[in-house]
């Protein structure tokens, strides 16, 4: 089994860093079995290709703009995820959407996909999350854990 939890985002732009902060928190708070890889993807693109190849389950955590109030947390599953990417052209063009498309082209696309997205409040320069977005962390963590547990992964909270 290859299960990947990928946090993406730019940690220098306040809430843009929520994905990276969330996977850090996951590693900090929980003990995960060795077949779960937790990756801080930053703002990388093609460098991630190999890490994501042939995953049985890929969970992406990222900042998303979905015309919802700040701190709204959304979840998209399987086919909804590439569809979500297909309709957008992000300024960060060689980001995760191209990696997913490249995985598809190489027939090494993840079998199961989940996207946990958080609507940001501020993308100003700064390395802290805004308090409103930081406050979504328990919900984001719970969703990550739920995704893992539903996939049969045993997740234990550290003492």
């Amino acid at each position: 089994m290859k299960i990947v939890v990928l946090g993406v985002g730019n940690t220098l732009l306040e809430d843009e860093g929520i994905g990276v902060r969330a996977v850090e928190e996951l590693q900090h708070r929980y003990t995960l079995p060795p077949d779960v890889q937790v990756i801080d993807g930053g703002t990388a693109g093609m460098e991630l290709l190999e890490s994501l190849e042939d995953a049985d389950k890929l969970i992406i955590v990222d900042c998303v703009r979905v015309n919802q109030p700040p701190a709204t947390v959304i979840r998209r599953i399987d086919d909804e995820v590439p569809a979500f990417f297909r309709t957008k052209i992000s300024p960060h063009q060689i980001g995760i959407s191209d990696v997913l498309a490249a995985l598809q082209l190489r027939d090494r696309f993840p079998k199961h996909l989940a996207l946990i997205g958080i609507q940001p409040k501020s993308l100003e320069t700064g390395i802290e999350l805004t308090p409103e977005i930081a406050a979504t962390m328990p919900q984001v963590l719970a969703m990550m854990v739920e995704e893992l547990t539903n996939f049969g992964v045993v997740v234990t909270e550290k003492a």
């Binding site: 843009e16 703002t43 300024p91 960060h92 190489r106 993308l123």
Partner: protein
């Protein structure tokens, strides 16, 4: 009547760039390049420990992580007048070279080839003919008829399903697409193979950098890789042998596929050697230091004026005043203000990062990028500048690969193509491929140097930095994949007092400077043909030829944002 075309954002690049062109009589008459995001990272660094700056600056951008880490530690080491162990130089050099190869391969195949290669046309190719053409050009093992047939079937499936996936947004069938179907298929086959090969370069960075995408092994004073001949959990000979395996695999692709493809595709687009010249003042810096002080380099760098290689003036050390005294940044046309007035450029040590946003004003302020100059003139930086300056410096491998590439183009195009053809849009791609071959050979040399030095019993990788009281200033420069990168730091009592990053894409994508002289993109776009203003493929060709990276990498996913090309009467 002239037309105004606005492309916002320019796609298949890193970051958010807007380009406006005025089109008259089917050609670009004027151009504006506008960075649409603010990069305020410098302000985050003020007051912090200089030893942490590299880890923060490498988050500026998704594709340039390693380069900011390298430039940052070099700047702090320069301020402290430090020497670093040669092993640390070799390990950093290996990372720099592998990262550069990764960048060049991904840039050519995945970010820009589709400006020249028509994927839909590839479905109409005769795979046997395409494979035989490929075999006539190189000995690459991936050029079999079966492989070509397999890839073509896959593409046909994509096209039939209406889901082009990664190939969506291409200008398929555009009148400026000139390759025969067989050459298109050849390029698509290598596009797919390049996805595999780029992983090898990334593996080298990951093993040496302890982590990818963000390396963790760099430190002010050296690297944090403990070296050992045998012990576990450190950089052992065994792991270095694994690195060597990836180096050898890359070699075959770079020389037998990448360099050959650029020459072959370039030969079909000979007219593009006459477009995109623009600024012919070139700047590069020496890199791949071979000693602990940074006074000897494997790859030379310097300045060329007016496109004339005989004017070459070398930059010779990390302390060379010719470089450090020559750089300044203007904000007359940028959304910043200087306390002493916007009509004067400032040296980076005195640099200010204070925002002053207006709307897009084509005669006023219109970009978040500053406008860097070298002795008051805008420069072109990047692989073309690097190859021309290395050529001018008499660097033998550069001469060898540049000559080989131009000879191959000449034989395919059946006309003599000389080095002057490089001052162009297609020339920038050719120079990048030549540079890749040079980087590849240097990767092998640096690996040998590291192993030989370890064999002598020298395992030192780190000198501890000491921060004295008072103020120190330093610059760290690096010839990054996109060109000259420099970080400028002012340290006071062990804390950062000022920090400025002058990045390659700022040199190239800069707005007009304090004297209203256009930046490299702006100058290079003038004269470009535009067949269809609604589909300005030719603009993308020239902009993409620079490998743009508007270094700030915001990448919020957005459900509704689509690329917009607006055309209106000017």
């Amino acid at each position: 009547m002239s037309k105004r075309v606005t492309i916002d954002p320019v796609t298949r690049i890193e970051g958010h760039l807007r380009v406006d062109v005025e089109v008259e009589g089917g050609k670009v008459s004027k151009a504006w390049s506008s960075g649409q995001m603010w990069r305020g990272v410098e302000n985050i660094l003020i007051g912090r420990d200089p030893r942490d700056a590299w880890a923060i600056t490498q988050r500026i951008c998704g594709v340039c992580t390693t380069v900011h880490a390298i430039a940052s530690v070099r700047a702090v080491e320069n301020a402290l007048k430090m020497e670093i162990p040669v092993n640390a130089q070799y390990i950093r050099n290996l990372i720099i070279l592998a990262h550069g190869l990764h960048d060049h391969i991904v840039h050519f195949y995945h970010l820009s080839a589709l400006d020249w290669v028509d994927v839909v046309s590839a479905t109409k190719a005769d795979p046997a003919k395409a494979a035989s053409l490929a075999q006539s050009l190189s000995s690459w093992s991936g050029n079999s008829v079966q492989e070509f047939k397999k890839v073509q079937d896959k593409i046909k499936g994509f096209v039939a399903s209406g889901q082009l996936g990664i190939f969506t947004n291409g200008y398929w069938g555009h009148p400026a697409m000139k390759l025969p179907p067989e050459v298109n298929l050849l390029a698509v086959v290598h596009y797919l193979q390049a996805l595999e090969v780029q992983r090898y370069a990334n593996k080298i960075v990951t093993i040496l950098g302890s982590k990818s995408p963000h390396i963790q092994n760099v430190a002010v004073g050296g690297v944090a890789n403990p070296l050992a001949l045998d012990s576990q959990s450190v950089l052992t000979v065994e792991r270095l042998l694994a690195v060597k395996e990836w180096i050898d695999k890359l070699d075959d692709f770079v020389k037998n596929v990448y360099l050959v493809d650029v020459a072959a595709i370039g030969a079909f687009y000979a007219d593009w050697t006459t477009y995109g010249k623009g600024i012919v003042d070139y700047l590069s810096v020496p890199d791949i230091p071979l000693d602990s002080k940074g006074t000897q380099f494997a790859m030379p760098g310097g300045h060329i004026a007016n496109g004339d290689v005989s004017t070459f003036k070398a930059i010779t050390s990390f302390n060379d005043k010719y470089f450090t005294d020559g750089v300044a940044e203007a904000v007359k046309h940028s959304w910043y203000e200087y306390s002493g007035g916007d009509d004067k450029a400032l040296h980076p040590y005195k640099g200010e990062t204070k925002a002053k946003y207006t709307d897009f004003q084509e005669n006023g302020k219109y970009s978040w990028l500053k406008s860097p100059t070298f002795y008051n003139k805008p420069m072109q930086v990047g692989p073309l500048a690097h190859v021309l300056t290395m050529f001018a410096a008499g660097h033998a491998p550069t001469k060898e690969y540049a000559t080989a590439a131009l000879d191959l183009v000449s034989s395919i195009a059946k006309t003599k193509v000389g080095i002057d053809a490089l001052h162009s849009t297609i020339g920038r791609h050719a120079a990048r491929a030549v540079r890749a071959a040079v980087l590849q050979d240097e990767l092998v040399k640096q690996w040998d140097l590291l192993l030989a030095n370890m064999g002598k019993g020298d395992l030192k990788t780190f000198n501890k930095p000491v921060f004295p009281k008072g103020e120190q200033v330093g610059v760290g420069f690096h010839e990054a994949p996109r060109g000259v990168l420099s970080h400028w730091v002012v340290i006071a009592d062990g804390k950062i007092k000022n920090y400025q990053c002058v990045v390659p894409s700022t040199w190239n994508a800069a707005p007009r400077n304090e004297k209203d002289a256009p930046g490299a993109y702006e100058a290079c776009l003038v004269g470009n043909p535009i067949a269809d203003p609604e589909k300005p493929l030719e603009v993308l060709r020239t902009v993409h030829s620079f490998d743009p990276c508007i270094a700030c990498a915001i990448h919020v996913m957005d459900e509704e944002h689509t690329e917009i090309v607006k055309v209106k009467a000017a």
